[in-house]
Symmetry: D2
Subunit: 301 residues, 4 copies
């Protein structure tokens, strides 16, 4: 078995994912707007293509991993896009993190062409992509999910079907709102403790050990206290993801006041020039708001 696979989007995430598919025995032909990315796939044992059409010719599986919904719309639905030349029966997996609305449009357009579609955004970052330990949140039909299992096994550690088309995106959005909000809460806790003259390290140890405990407190409290905001996952990306969460809420007709405020704080981080810092830099926003920016600046030296 050597499944012919077309892979569109060979960037920071797509490149190691495609390489892991090659390692797992898939026959991968890839395309990217950026030629060196295509060359990299060839070096990893795949085949480079000069267009989407060439990449997906004869493919049983087509994969996209693209930055945002306009890229997906163009590469899949647009002129020269996947759905122009894709064969009926093809399994199409979009690993991009985009708004659910576009995933649903793609699924409907796929259905009209007999293509089996999954939205499958991931978490775990570049490191998770390289190590093939991504978490994969999937929307689509159960039998399509079952068919995609070998792909998910090749690139990830865990994959779960969360509902119909778009559900993967909604769960990813839910994940990002909880992550962003938790950083913002921990940031406010730190600002409060430090301003009150408390030993914040001792305080966070107590929080981490009780009901306030979280993966973020476990992994990030030391770096936050040290004002080490090297990414990690950049504010700019989290800003994009909060936009998706608010789009999803608007689509689902629900009001999310806390999420809305967290999105504003992440937008503030970006506006304050922290876009390329780790999302834990929400701490700097919380400090600046309380006129305590000196601390982050001082620690940064």
């Amino acid at each position: 078995m050597s499944t012919k696979t077309g892979f569109i989007g060979l960037g920071i995430m797509g490149s190691p994912m495609a390489a892991n598919l090659v390692k797992a025995g898939f026959e991968v032909t890839g395309y990217d707007l950026n030629a060196p990315n295509v060359a990299k796939l060839a070096a990893a044992g795949g085949t480079g293509a000069a267009s989407i059409a060439e990449a997906i010719e004869g493919a049983e599986v087509v994969i996209t991993m693209l930055p945002a919904h306009p890229h997906v719309a163009a590469a899949v639905l647009g002129a020269g896009g996947v759905f122009e030349t894709v064969k009926p029966g093809t399994l199409f997996i979009d690993f991009s993190t985009i708004r659910p609305e576009t995933s649903i449009e793609v699924a409907q357009a796929g259905a009209a062409r007999g293509v089996r579609v999954l939205d499958a955004p991931v978490s775990g970052g570049e490191k998770g992509a390289i190590d093939a330990v991504l978490s994969i949140m999937v929307g689509g039909e159960p039998e399509v999910f079952a068919a995609a299992r070998p792909v998910f096994d090749a690139v990830g550690k865990v994959a779960a079907l969360c509902g119909p088309a778009g559900s993967g995106q909604v769960v990813k959005a839910a994940n990002q709102l909880v992550v962003g909000g938790t950083y913002a809460l921990v940031a406010e806790a730190i600002v409060l403790m430090e301003a009150a003259g408390v030993d914040a390290a001792a305080g966070l140890d107590m929080l981490a050990g009780g009901l306030a405990g979280s993966r973020i407190l476990e992994l990030k409290r030391a770096s936050m206290l040290a004002r080490d905001f090297k990414p990690g996952f950049r504010i700019d990306l989290h800003h994009k993801d909060m936009g998706i969460a608010l789009d999803a809420a608007r689509q689902a007709e629900v009001a999310l006041p806390l999420t809305s405020l967290v999105a504003a704080l992440i937008q503030a981080a970006r506006a304050q020039g922290l876009g390329d810092q780790d999302h834990s830099a929400l701490l700097a926003v919380a400090e600046n708001l309380s006129g305590r920016s000196g601390r982050s600046a001082r620690k940064a030296n």
Copy 2:
């Protein structure tokens, strides 16, 4: 060694704490406004007293565990209170969760009388108190903290000195703002997923396994999805604690926008008649806001 100990406030938390001190070999004399509570201590091997003065007579250690700052102010600083008759050199531990401002006043008043004071609010709830596994957040001087170690060992699992007087309260406040905020975020995630037609149980499993993971997702996601809001820790108490967090922020001159909004949502829970429900009932507030109250109501049957 059988340390003579006066214990003021034998309610839901104080009663098992006093009993655990008796078990650990302390000679405990207790007082409570409510006579049956005093009788319970006697039944557990302690001694009942008819007044604060009687309870603390000859005590080397004096402990208070009271509902709110006015009770502490009255019982410690007021007429007939602890500091009227306490001996210099006494170790005074206030386990109550109150605003840092009052803890600092108490510490200063104690210092003026030669009393060694710690503020030591706890988390872990009634069950933690009974099982002697409380987490204890302490403010005060290092040598006083060291002297109090046998008391903390008798009632808790972990105790940490977090800074000068009031620091225990600030850390407890920080803990409660993170806990309240995390519930509110998880609630918004659930509302979003359910409204979008996603399998929220599958979605929360994904969140729990990644960077969004938390003690709350681990322990409470099943009960939240089932709309089982039996306490646990009541909204009314969390409302009191958010008031302390906002007081602490005001005292420390920091602005906590997210904490402020979370406090408003917990106030809303209370205003909606959920004061005696578990704090995870923030989910019902999030649902009501989006006109989805039917779901909580239906599940509640």
Copy 3:
């Protein structure tokens, strides 16, 4: 002088605006997807057209008044749209309220064709459109604004050039965030006063007479106290406008926490089934949040 004018979009707002242009001596040919709307223009002294191309043939001025940015993008930039057949030198005015991003795209596409473009969203509602007293917020070049003056005089009371392309939309967005936020603040003031047993009518009179005074307090306090939420301007439309305000903030890279929260509250109004009520129905959202929904319901009878 009888300026040949093409008018696309003859709905609730566009229909009376087109009629007012006819009254002012413009020679108006109009098109709408909805045939009865076209017939209405003919009855008012204009000419009906069966397509955009027909409506704008030979026109010196082309006007659009459409519901949202996708409609404008399609009708102006899309296949069969205005810019396919428009003559260079034409004055093009878009009265639609849409996101600034689309207005800027339209202005750029117009410039490439030698078309002079203004974005010119209005306030004043259906009544303002009928009475030709709209307020018109304009983005574009000063000489184009000057050229459009006769059009603005025919449909509005006041028009102001607020900056380059897109500026009209930004000012409209700013207007709507202040209006929505003011309703929400007045709603919280009313809820507080009523819950505290205060005579809210007397209280609002005091507010209206001092620094808290506003057009909204002046015009709407009586109807709000009476829970009379007949539109007026519907929550659904304000919800759309808050989406534009948040899009504009994202585009301008600014963080607007209060606006974000107001948008969530308006989304809540919609989710609670108040979408077709006046935007002053934010009072019902504020009441529901505090478990006081009975009052609005009772008054509604």
Copy 4:
């Protein structure tokens, strides 16, 4: 008729109010902790006193105008306070802005002594006090309000009875939350317009003329655009008043999310060192949040 009147608290507000009572024919004896303030009253035709007891001896009317609730509690209810020596039947008016809870306590304590009590916080500032054009929000009984009319006429332009004891404070709190919130909304509108390259002065003119119009836009838009934050009413005082609004909400058991966020933004202004600036300096907070602090700083030169 020359009503004997005791006046406690002769600060920035109390001093001109007492002088206006003298002008109106009242026989005023005043006391203040600060001796020069007492001398000033004597110079204005009143009589100075060395204690509260001396100031109110034989008085038919007793007035307090003090900074915050602890001062009122001490001066009225405390040792040596008004209620120790006040005669039954005296009319007692507290013009201080304090939390409703304390006003209610004072009213109850007054009732127990046969004293007729009103809470009567004012707006209009120092200038309004000097010019005797204050707005007076009153809580208490109708017949007491009627009896106080000559006092109100001597110091204010308008006085309204808003309900039972504490109602004046609640209305003042409602006023302050609307004022603070309106500044914050206008600030976000300005930040959005300026960041988007819009002529904010032209934009605010449009807002001021429509449904977004307010006293604040009318009086303050020019100074805000010029970043002229000379008080006026200081952030520190508005911060105190937002604390009262949140206390009042807590007491009335209502959730005010927008008010909570506005209070956090005003706290931020203070934390950023703007406590002695006008409350319109909320604009600087909004700018800093979006990393645009240069503008306020530049304009400030």
